[in-house]
Symmetry: C2
Subunit: 351 residues, 2 copies
């Protein structure tokens, strides 16, 4: 068994030292020293992944290394920030060399691709736990915040949400009566295990989109975070949801469950003024990512009264409920209302 | 049982929102946005604490909240950096309100005292695990690095190392044949549970001291990190070690084990040019912390040959051993060598 020090050195520190050095001082001192570019802010996000909750005990360690960093890079993407570096703290029951080699391989493959440098970390014995804190650089006024959506904005989503949730269903054998073809099952599983953070799209949208977040807990639930923070409602055209060819081959009820309430997609959901439609399409093309308009931001009823809006912002929860805010109105392509409730999705939640 | 969201909100996010806002954007978005002061760097450190390894299962949660942040602030202190903020990610088997109230109480008491703002975090179900990443601000050229010690420098240590290790011994009942008075036991336990990060001392020493680190794994082992990174050796006068009155009442062998090989002290060990003795004393007085000169940085034998020094820096391990570098020569007050070996301390290691 490797000692803690030689373990860190073999799989992490040595690799970190040979990377391009964005940090003024990296691994090996009490702290790393970094700075955002002149005039920019440092965007910081942290995520903890626990066995049994965020990944299955028999997960491929290479996929785990990829995903642990991908979910953090996705938070940078959702702010429109450029990756700079990350710290990695993890607890391992027992260091196994083959596991560490595959895990660090998946991690650094992604880190190198985005020029994101390992600048510090901590390892300890304990039940498997991964904690990554990621750092990016963004101009403060270009940052894609959750509280910036305005009535009239288009609502957009990248990629084809729902595939990761279908991958979890396949792995768990949740739908024994549904025929799923092997190639489709492989597509779903890859979406679950190797999510691609939309870093290039987030950067291209900075200064064009208004509000944005990454879809980690399901499109319906995550969109509500934008609505809450921006004090608006939304109408979503369920027939406009972009589905992968594989997901479109599942029964319609499963399609909607996966696309709206499935987690782990790490696509971006964002809003932009209608006047920016051309700019959004151009940004998506530049980033090589499909984006789809799925609805519109609407005024909450209470916005008619400035006092009510202030009360809402200050946390008058009873009034929120009375005013049905934040609320998503689900429609089909003809504009007819659909009777979808968020509660109906909850037990499909992947997290 | 509280849901994840209301748990975070009640004990952490609400509190974070009412603090002074050093971050341009804090909890509630995909990322927090922060920046160091103009012309300064961001110092970053991360530590993961696991039950059974870093704290006992029955630890007082208020003490745990204090210590989880204290060990991170101590890393900033060791760089001479001023605390700005921190992220907190934790896994909890089952959220218990009384536990969370005490834990967050201990955490925020210390955070508020140092103006260190909670800017982001993550909570999840899982075996108890705490991961804090802390951010400070420091001028790059004032940062107290591990690789800056030079032959002739004095070696200093703050406070009275060893008390925390004695506290662990008392808690574990390791020394049943040693008479330890109740007040001394309480003193040791407090040193273990409520270490005080030497932030003010680190700030006062920035620009005065050369190399520094915080003593988390025992003075002997941690000093070797400075020696390794700076390519130097050291002579330490064991009789000069500053001992608390309580530690001085233990048998001499225990005193030395605790003071030299004990962990969890979070005192600063640093080097400074002899010409800076007055400035070091003044800095310590300003910070209200005792500092003691315990030895001298010496040239390694191999420094006589520049080629050998280069080989050492490039990792010629065999040569390191042949040249006994890095090495600590232990002396008593008369200058006579003491036969202390690092191996002899290892099984007392608190970590």
């Amino acid at each position: 068994m490797l000692s803690e020090f030689s373990l860190i050195d073999r799989y992490f520190a040595r690799r970190a030292r040979t990377n391009t050095r964005r940090a003024a001082l990296g691994i090996g001192d009490d702290c790393a020293l970094i700075a955002p570019a002149a005039g920019e802010m440092l965007a910081v996000s942290t995520d903890m992944l626990v066995e049994g909750r965020h990944f299955l005990p028999d997960v491929d360690p290479r996929a785990l290394g990829h995903k642990a960093l991908a979910v953090n890079l996705s938070d940078l993407a959702a702010m429109g920030a450029a990756p700079l570096g990350f710290t990695l703290a993890f607890a391992l029951p027992k260091p196994r060399e083959d596991w560490l080699e595959a895990f660090s391989g998946g991690l650094f493959e992604l880190a190198d691709r985005y020029g994101c440098e390992l600048i510090g970390g901590d390892t300890t014995a304990g039940p498997l736990n991964l904690c990554i804190t990621v750092f990016g650089s963004v101009r403060q006024h270009d940052a894609l915040r959750r509280d910036a959506a305005r009535p009239g904005d288009d609502v957009w989503v990248s990629g084809t949400p729902g595939d990761a949730r279908a991958g979890l269903g396949v792995l768990r054998g949740e739908w024994p009566h549904v025929q799923i073809d092997r190639a489709d099952a492989a597509h779903f599983r890859r979406a679950l295990e190797y999510p691609e953070p939309r870093v290039a799209l987030g950067l291209a949208l900075a200064g064009i989109a208004r509000a944005a977040l990454d879809v980690s807990d399901g499109l319906a639930g995550d969109l509500r975070h934008i609505l809450e923070r921006s004090h608006v409602n939304a109408e979503i055209d369920v027939d406009a949801l972009p589905l992968s060819a594989a997901l479109a081959r599942l029964p319609r009820a499963l399609q909607l469950q996966c696309a709206l309430a499935g987690g782990d997609d790490y696509e971006l959901c964002f809003t932009a003024a209608q006047a920016q439609r051309g700019a959004v399409e151009a940004a998506a093309q530049q980033a090589g990512v499909r984006v789809t308009r799925i609805g519109t931001i609407t005024s909450p009823d209470l916005a008619a009264s400035p006092e009510a809006a202030v009360a809402a912002r200050d946390g008058a929860h009873a009034q929120h409920k009375a005013q049905a805010w934040p609320d998503i109105a689900w429609r089909d392509a003809s504009g007819a209302p659909l009777n979808l409730t968020l509660q109906g999705f909850d037990h499909f939640h992947a997290d």
